[in-house]
Every structure is written in C-alpha cells, then in structure tokens.
C-alpha cells in the first residue's frame, strides 16, 4: 500500500515534538477523516531554522507531516509557502489514490503556521 519511503517516515518520523515560544504555529484538522496536525516553526530572518510537528492520523498523515518538516528546514518562508500537497506526496514516492487527501494535512498546517508567523510579526510592528 505505502512506499518504503512512507513507511520509513512513519516508523522514524523526523522532527516530532513541540517548541517553546515558536514563531509560528499552525493546526489543521482534516475535515474529511477527522485527523489533526500541528506544526511549530522557529524562524530567523526569513529562514526556517527549526520545525516540529505533532500528528494524530493515519500512516500517510504521519509520513507527510514528517516529510514536510524535512522539506522546509533551512528554506525561506517564501520557498516554504509554495510547497504543495502534491509536492509532499511526490517526495514520499507517491501515495495511494485514497490517501491523497492526507497530504493536505501537512501542507495546510505548514501554510497556516507561516500565516501565524506573519500575523505575529504584524502585531509586533
């Protein structure tokens, strides 16, 4: 069902955890299946220095969460903003058809966390 890469990220998820005083937090629930993901960002300048996640969801949800954290670490927020659901799925070597929606969780949470970062910045100014 899942590719080796998906199973690897599911078994050894990268960047699991929380963050004290994150610069941005995004949480999304997957309306379709009830799964939840939360992502924390540590941003310096416009570079994503560190990232952590927590996910309640299926194998694909966990794997895409883990994958997306790897993909954004060290990137600028603009680069991170353009990471799409499809790109995450592709980076994992693909997902089963019925599981494509799971990748929404990861990308959406990321984008939401960046949005949160922007909001906080604006408040500071």
């Amino acid at each position: 069902m899942y590719t080796e890469k998906v199973m690897d990220h599911f078994t050894n998820p990268r960047n699991v955890g929380e963050m004290e005083n994150p610069d941005g937090v995004g949480e999304v629930g997957n309306a379709k299946c009830g799964d939840i993901m939360r992502i924390y960002l540590d941003i310096e300048g416009d570079i994503i220095k560190d990232v952590k996640f927590k996910t309640f969801g299926c194998g694909a949800a966990v794997a895409t969460s883990s994958m997306v954290t790897e993909m954004v670490k060290g990137k600028t927020i603009d680069e991170a903003m353009v990471i799409s659901n499809a790109a995450v799925a592709e980076a994992l070597g693909g997902l089963p058809e019925t599981k494509m929606h799971c990748s929404n969780l990861a990308a959406d949470a990321l984008h939401k966390a960046i949005g949160d970062y922007h909001d906080k910045q604006q408040k500071k100014e």
Binding site: Y2, M7, F10, T11, P13, V16, E18, E27, K32, C33, G34, D35, I36, M37, R38, K54, T55, F56, G57, C58, G59, A60, A61, V62, T98, H101, C102
Partner: protein, 394 residues
C-alpha cells in the same frame, strides 16, 4: 519475522484437511455436476453431500441450501430476491444500523429504487432492541433483515425473539450469520429464520463460496440468471471444489465449535483485560460475557489513530483490523461504532483483534507486551494527547 494473525473475522486460513479435499476436485474429479457422464456424476454426488453438511450445521434440510459465491452474494440474493418477489405485497423493509455493507448497501439500493427503509438503532453495546423492531413493523413490511452477530464488536443479537415477531406478522426474516456460523449454535427452526446467509472463508473454508438458506415455501427471485443450477435459484457452473471445501469446513466446525469457543473465550478475556490493565484511556466496545462472540476483542484507544496502530502492529508481525476512517475508502469511521454512540474521535482509534483456532496464549502475551509500547510512541506524537498531559500537569 514472527507473525501473529488476529484478523480471523476478516478471513481465515483454509483448514489443511479442507484444502486437501479441494485439491482432488481441482485436478482429478473435475467434472461438471450437470454432465451425464461419470466425471459429472462423481461431483454431483459430492455436491449433494456438501449441501447436507452445510444444512446440518444450521438445522436445515439439504434442499433448503442454495450455494452462492459468498456471503455478500447470499445477502444480496436474500434481500433483492425477496423485494422482487414481494414488491406487489409491500415496499417496506426493516434493518439495523450495524449491518454489514452487504446488507446495508443492498437495502439502500432498494430505497433508491422505490422501497421504504427503516434502520433500527442499537444500544451502546451494539445490540438491537426487539421493541424497536416491533414498533417499526407496518402493514406493508415485507422483510426484516438483521445480523446474528456483528463483525466489528461481536455483539450477538436477539434473533429468536425477532424471528418470533416476524413470524407473528407474516414477514420474511433474513439473518446474516456470516460471523456466527461455527462460533455459536444456529438453528433456523428455533430461531424462526426464513433466509440465512453463511460464508466459507470465515470458518476455515475457501473464499468465493457461501450459501443462502431458503426456508421451504419461501419464494425469492434469482439474482443471476442462466443455466438454472441450484434449483433455478442461482445459475452458473457450480464452484465444486469451493462447495466441497465449504461443506467439509462446516462439518469440522460442527465438531469443534464447543472446544474452539472455550479456548477462544479464555484468550479473548485475557487480551481484553490485559489491554485495559496496561493502557490508560481505553474503552471496550461491545458487550461482555455471553452476548459477545467468543473470538472478538474490540477496544478504542484514545488519542491515537487506528491505521497508525495497525501499521505499527504490522511491523511487529501482528495482524489486526480497525474501525478507523483512515483504513477505509470512505472517510467515515466505522458505522457500527458510530451507531453505538461513539464520537468520531474515539471511533477513530479503535482496534479489533479476532481470534482463531491456531492462536496461542503466548501470542496474546506478545501482543500485550508490544501494544502498550506502540500506544506510548504514537501518543507522544499526538497533538490530542498533549492536551491531556498538560491539563493533568496544571
């Protein structure tokens, strides 16, 4: 790697004795039972013997057994066949909210085509109330279709009482006994059942074969038309090896039922209690004791998701199943758990272990050793569990 199969409600291995007989009918006694020659006659005889073996396990007469390609087809034949036969008499059908998709989808198909459907709710243990069925009966009710035992939570239904009700009102009564066959006694006479579905691959027989019991005098319109096999109820060249294997599996099930149940109840309770003792925030789904199938364990483990549990168990060689939305094509968690009143979030983290003849106490120990570690790891990843920990600490 070690492999522990605990998904016998999904399907079972074929008993070696059953497989050996089937083999003969694939390669040596391959005649078509409709043929006049010796190759045909020898299989024809075996066909009637198998029919008898199935009939005996449910207290029916041989002639009342129609072989099908499985439980799903038998459910369809029962429901669509009755609806078609009685459409002039009435258009109301009663079923329950915890039926297998083979029943629910078929009833819904009829609903879309002009029939009226009443879906009876269940209590929190997953048991249908006879009273609710009584209240649902209308003058134009033509069929009541409910399952004997539920495939997800193992709840055993009050079939004999519903049967009595159906009989009093002259309503055709269909029972899906796919999960109960060979696990608890079935008697179509005592239960007042008119149509009863059984399937081979849940009782150490082959996949691709099942049967519908049709009480003498009850009329159903065939689903599959053609050569007129099975007394014109089900056309198609008979799946002889499958049928013979199913017959043998029924014979063995009859002999072993009491022993199997005794052994499995012990393992079931050990596993269920062990999980509750070792893991926090666990809910047992379904009834306990007499009203539960001997081989079913179903628990909801909060703050973790079912598919992730399954995958993690699988990596340790443990095969189970889940009512999680994430394991099904549809995106809703199990309609059975939701029907029992579980909220989405809890239904999502449910796990079913279904025991079989070959399982050992040692295997249960292995599961009880591994499962808590898996849950711990997944909870560490879960944003929902965070909140529990935090609120505890504060």
């Amino acid at each position: 790697m070690r492999r522990v199969y605990l998904d016998h409600s999904a399907t079972t291995p074929v008993d070696p004795e059953v497989a050996a007989i089937m083999m003969t009918y694939y390669t040596e006694k391959y005649g078509n039972p409709s043929s006049v020659h010796g190759f045909g006659r020898e299989t024809k005889q075996a066909l009637e013997q198998a029919r008898n073996q199935v009939a005996e396990l449910i207290g029916a007469a041989s002639r009342e057994i129609t072989f099908t390609s499985g439980g799903t087809e038998a459910d369809n034949l029962a429901i669509l066949g009755t609806a078609e036969a009685l459409r002039k008499k009435g258009k109301h059908i009663i079923t329950s909210c915890i039926e297998h998709h083979a029943v629910l989808e078929t009833c819904e198909y009829l609903e879309k085509n002009g029939f009226d459907l009443t879906v009876i709710p269940v209590d929190e243990e997953g048991i249908i109330s006879v009273d609710e069925v009584r209240k649902a009966i209308r003058p134009d009710t033509i069929l009541i279709t409910v399952m004997h035992a539920n495939n997800e939570v193992g709840s055993i239904q009050p079939i004999a009482e519903i049967g009595k009700l159906a009989k009093e009102h002259g309503i055709v009564f269909h029972v899906d006994a796919v999960q109960s066959l060979g696990k608890i006694p079935i008697n179509v006479e005592e239960m007042n059942v008119d149509l009863l579905t059984v399937s081979g691959h849940k009782i150490y027989g082959p996949k691709g074969v099942g049967a519908l019991y049709v009480r003498k005098g009850v009329r159903i319109v065939p689903l599959i038309h053609g050569g007129g096999q099975e007394r014109k109820r089900r056309s198609g060249t008979e799946n002889m090896p499958g049928i013979i294997g199913f017959g043998k599996a029924c014979e063995l099930a009859g002999q072993r039922m009491a022993d199997d149940a005794k052994k499995q109840i012990k393992l079931r309770d050990k596993l269920m209690n062990g999980i509750v003792e070792r893991i926090e925030y666990v809910k047992v789904n379904g009834p306990v004791g007499e009203k539960r199938l001997p081989n079913n364990v179903n628990v909801s483990i909060r703050y973790v998701e079912g598919e992730s549990l399954l995958l993690s168990l699988d990596m340790l060689g443990i095969a189970a199943s889940s009512g999680s939305a994430c394991t099904s094509g549809s995106l809703d968690p199990s309609h059975v758990l939701l029907g029992m009143g579980l909220i989405h979030e809890i239904a999502h983290g449910s796990l079913r272990f279904s025991l079989g003849r070959q399982n050992t106490e040692e295997e249960i120990d292995y599961v009880l050793e591994q499962l808590p570690k898996i849950v711990e790891r997944l909870r560490m990843m879960s944003p929902l569990y965070d909140q529990v920990i935090h609120s505890k600490q504060s």
